[in-house]
Symmetry: C2
C-alpha cells in the first residue's frame, strides 16, 4: 500500500513536470507577425507582463518538480519541507495561470467599458498558442492540487514519503 | 503550548475573515462617474469579469473563515477536512487576487502592443478603490499561506486543533 502510494506520488510529480514544461515552452514560442491597415506588428508573449509571469512561474514549477522527482526517487525524505514548498509552488502556479487567463480573456473578448478591443481576430495563431499554454498550465495546477489534497487525506505520508 | 497554538490559529482566522470582508466590500463599492470628450460613463467593478471574480472569491473566503472560526471556537474538530478546504480556499483567493491584479495593471499602465490604453487617468477614485481592495485581498492570501505553512510545520495540529 505504501509502495503504491509512493508510485502514485511519483507519477503525479512526473505529470506535473511534463505539464509545466509544456506550458512554459508553448508560451515562450508564441509569436506571430501581422499587418493591420498597412501597419506591421509582432505579437509575442514578452510584450505582456502577465504572460512573462506565466512563463517564469511554470519554468520554476518545472525545475522544482524535476528536483523533487530526483529527491524522492533516490529514497531521500524531506517530508515537511517538501509539503511547505509544494504549497508555495501551487500558489505560484495558480497565480500565474490566473493572471495570464485574465489577460487572455481580454485579448479574446475585449472590454468595451474600458475601450480595450479584442486582438485575437488579428493574431489567431498567437491566441491559439496562448490557449494551449493556458490549458497545460491549468493541468499543472490541478495536479499540484491533487498532490496537496493527498497530503491532507493522509498526513502520515508527509513524514514517510 | 497547545493552547497558544490554538489561539494563534484563531487569531489568524479572524484576520483572514477581516481582510477578505474588507476586500469584498471595498471592491463592491468601487464605482465612479466620469466625462471624457462629452461622453459620460460609469466605471464599476461589475463591468470587468476579473473584478467580479475577485468579489465572489473574497466573499466565499470571508464566509468560510467565519464558519471555521465558529467550528474551532466551539471546540469541534474536522482537522483533515479543514486542511483540505484551507488549501482550496487559498488557491481560490490566490487566483482571484492575481486575475484582478493583472487587469488592474493594464488599467494603470495600459498595453501599447495590444492598443489598450490606461484608464486610471480618467477614473482615479475608482482605481484607488480597486487598489485598496487588492491590498486587502493580498493580505488575506498571505494569512492563508501562513495558516497552511503552520499546518506543514506542525502536521499533528491537523488532527488535534
Amino acid at each position: 500500500m505504501a509502495k503504491a502510494n509512493k508510485l502514485f506520488h511519483l507519477l503525479l510529480r512526473f505529470l506535473a513536470f511534463g505539464s509545466t514544461l509544456c506550458a512554459a515552452i508553448v508560451m515562450a514560442t508564441s509569436h506571430e507577425k501581422a499587418t493591420v491597415l498597412n501597419i506591421s506588428f509582432e505579437a509575442k508573449y514578452s510584450n505582456t507582463p502577465s504572460f512573462k509571469f506565466f512563463f517564469i512561474g511554470n519554468a520554476i514549477g518545472c525545475i522544482y518538480s524535476l528536483l523533487v522527482l530526483f529527491i524522492r526517487s533516490s529514497g531521500h525524505s524531506f517530508g515537511r519541507v517538501i509539503l511547505a514548498l509544494d504549497m508555495i509552488v501551487t500558489m505560484l502556479l495558480t497565480s500565474c495561470v490566473s493572471a495570464a487567463l485574465a489577460i487572455a480573456y481580454v485579448g479574446k473578448k475585449g472590454n468595451s467599458h474600458a475601450g480595450w478591443l479584442p486582438i485575437c481576430g488579428q493574431v489567431t495563431e498567437f491566441c491559439d498558442h496562448v490557449t494551449g499554454a493556458l490549458i497545460a498550465g491549468f493541468i499543472g495546477v490541478i495536479i499540484y492540487l491533487l498532490l496537496l489534497l493527498s497530503h491532507s487525506i493522509n498526513p502520515l505520508l508527509v513524514s514517510k514519503a
